[in-house]
């Protein structure tokens, strides 16, 4: 029997479940390697060469090179692992969050200061806003 996944109808959200964790294993372990300063330096010196050392899919490598976080999430990346990439880039969680929503960092910050994104209209895919 298939596992129940009641979270598939939540919009704009990828739940890091067993399927995603399996798919993203090497991508996420690459991210963990960036917690060491010497690895960060090697990665920055030649990103593609460093990525080629990890048995990731070409799509995963390209998403990292493009810093396309939504693509990385879809390919099994988990946000706390992906945080090692934007931290290595000297970027904040708020920068990355804004990028994933398609908003400017300034607009995103203003949204948060005024109370954040309302759950209304954001609970189910296809729900009327």
């Amino acid at each position: 029997m298939a596992l129940e996944k009641p979270y598939k109808d939540v919009p704009g959200t990828t739940i890091f479940d067993s399927d995603m964790a399996r798919k993203g294993y090497h991508l996420n372990q690459f991210c963990m390697s960036l917690m060491k300063a010497e690895n960060r330096e090697r990665f920055k010196a030649d990103e593609r060469a460093y990525l080629s050392e990890w048995p990731m899919s070409e799509d995963q490598r390209q998403a990292v090179l493009d810093r396309n976080y939504n693509a990385m999430l879809a390919l099994g990346g988990n946000i706390y692992f992906l945080a090692k990439i934007f931290s290595s880039d000297g970027k904040s969680f708020q920068y990355a969050a804004a990028l994933m929503t398609g908003m400017s960092e300034e607009d995103y910050k203003a949204m948060m200061v005024s109370g954040g994104r309302s759950p209304d209209g954001n609970r189910y895919i296809g729900e009327n806003k």
Partner: protein, 280 residues
């Protein structure tokens, strides 16, 4: 006999740690958040707990995908603040309480909760930010800490009910320890927040406040909240609130709420804080 006298709930947003470390707590952005902890800082200085049983989650720091323990208890003598990718926080080494930790591990496992025992582990902002919120910037933490890590990163995380019942087992365990110790339990993380995808930035103030309203007197209702409700209503990272239920379960049936604070935002997150005193 050791006793769990009180519990604290508090968010553990990394940027709060940054604000403390860089001396930015009085700025317009941060002051309203930190003001809500003034009560607790005074209170804890008087309470002088001997040990904090600190329930938190590791954010892909000590645990990669190589090993994902659902519940892990830190039994080491000391725990170093972790380098999370931009250097370790400038905070003291965390001193453990191995006697009590091993005792709790043995007792809780015998109560059918299969804990992972950890003897070497660095601790990330999930653990050090709440310590900084309550104790500021001391040269040495004035308390011993038992780190207790709950997996809320890889789904499925333990249910709220499981966490609540685990708290009860922890209470039994602490009360059967011979030494006379004043133990507090802290549940950290939350409240509503989502850090990923196009829905990032979700905050649900109404839901968060209803959670806080029920924590003291209606914990059974909170224990019944399903994963999907946390995800849908509070954002994908709101699931961290199951860790508050470990804390509540460990306080016994009757508690008194001493203090509460709620503030939006810290970075991407709704910050909740509560102090509960055990009456049983």
């Amino acid at each position: 006999m050791a006793r769990i006298t009180a519990g604290i709930g508090a968010s553990h947003v990394p940027l709060i740690g940054r604000a403390i470390d860089t001396g930015d707590t009085l700025s317009d952005y941060w002051k309203p958040l930190f003001d809500g902890f003034n009560f607790t800082r005074k209170w804890i200085a008087e309470e002088k707990p001997d040990v904090i049983f600190l329930v938190y989650n590791d954010h892909a720091t000590a645990f990669s995908l190589d090993m994902v323990p659902t519940f892990a208890i830190g039994c080491a003598e000391t725990f170093e603040p972790a380098d999370e990718g931009f250097g370790a926080r400038p905070v003291p080494t965390v001193e453990g309480a191995p006697d009590l930790a091993w005792h709790v591990a043995q007792s809780v496992i015998q109560q059918d909760f299969d804990l992972t025992i950890v003897n070497k582990m660095d601790v990330d902002h999930g653990l050090t930010v709440p310590l900084s919120l309550m104790y500021g910037q001391p040269k040495k933490w004035p308390v011993k800490v038992i780190p207790f890590a709950v997996n809320v990163v890889v789904y499925p995380t333990p249910s709220g009910r499981r966490c609540y019942n685990l708290g009860k087992a922890i209470r039994n365990a602490v009360e059967s320890f011979d030494k006379d110790l004043n133990v507090q339990i802290w549940g950290t993380g939350g409240m509503s927040h989502q850090l990923q995808g196009p829905r990032a930035g979700l905050i649900n103030q109404e839901w968060d406040k209803r959670f806080l309203d029920r924590l003291a007197d209606k914990p059974e209702e909170l224990a019944d909240i399903a994963h999907i409700e946390y995800i849908r209503e509070t954002g994908s990272e709101g699931i961290e609130m199951v860790m508050w239920l470990v804390m509540r379960g460990a306080l016994g049936d009757k508690v008194t709420e001493l203090h509460r604070h709620y503030h939006v935002p810290a970075s991407n997150t709704a910050v909740g804080h509560i102090v509960l005193e055990s009456q049983s």
